[in-house]
Symmetry: C2
Subunit: 140 residues, 2 copies
């Protein structure tokens, strides 16, 4: 292969054997991959989980930390993640009130994978931009 490939083709084939059946499943109405994508594939969930991977954080801190997110979307995203058991919400009865969010064990198990994805994004940023440039030129 080439420099892009961090895993061997046989590794990938082996890994794929486990998910093939779930990509194409005309026979069933449910698909675990589809489920996870619907949940974690939204605009903010991955960024929030990545941030919470550093450690527990309060609402305001998250709002400042995740670039570009609105108050509403942070709430919506956190509720979704909490609902799916990826994030834990702890309320402290202080004045003014404070709420701390943290990853659950399940959330941590996901963190490893999306961190890998994030690092891939950073590593191949240049490749993608180059490809886009080339593609644009081919269109004329």
């Amino acid at each position: 292969m080439d420099r892009h490939t961090e895993v061997t083709p046989s590794d990938i084939q082996e890994m794929n054997d486990g998910v093939d059946a779930w990509v194409a499943n005309d026979f069933s109405g449910t698909c675990p991959v589809r489920d996870v994508l619907d949940r974690v594939g939204d605009k903010w969930s991955v960024l929030v989980v990545l941030r919470l991977g550093r450690g527990p954080e309060r609402f305001r801190a998250l709002l400042r930390a995740v670039a570009g997110i609105s108050q509403r979307m942070l709430t919506v995203t956190l509720r979704g993640l909490e609902r799916d058991g990826l994030v834990h919400r702890e309320v402290f009865d202080t004045r003014p009130p404070s709420v701390e969010y943290s990853l659950t064990p399940l959330g941590h198990s996901l963190l490893g994978h999306i961190t890998g994805l994030a690092n891939w994004a950073v590593a191949h940023e240049a490749d993608i931009h180059q490809a886009q440039k080339t593609y644009a030129q081919k269109q004329g």
Copy 2:
């Protein structure tokens, strides 16, 4: 930790060090993680890349293989992936015409990561559904 965790906390911390700066970047207008999420975080890209991970495939075959995708969305998704250099499009001048899609080296390098994510989805399907059930009950 517990049974959910396939990577150690120190592994994650180490991996995180590489992406932290890109999650919260109020200073810059661009974020590689955001970029990749916008591209690969749509409804179909991951499923298409996973499918192409098995090997090159033609348009009709993909349409049948990826459960639930429409003709339009397959076209749109493939164009996006082609544009970003993840998928290669090869036209054969036959009657009727046939077009074969395959992963580029860059696409293969991504495949490893999203396959991991897909396997996580399959592995923790039950955990998520359980969490959702528990959450629903807490609301009453």
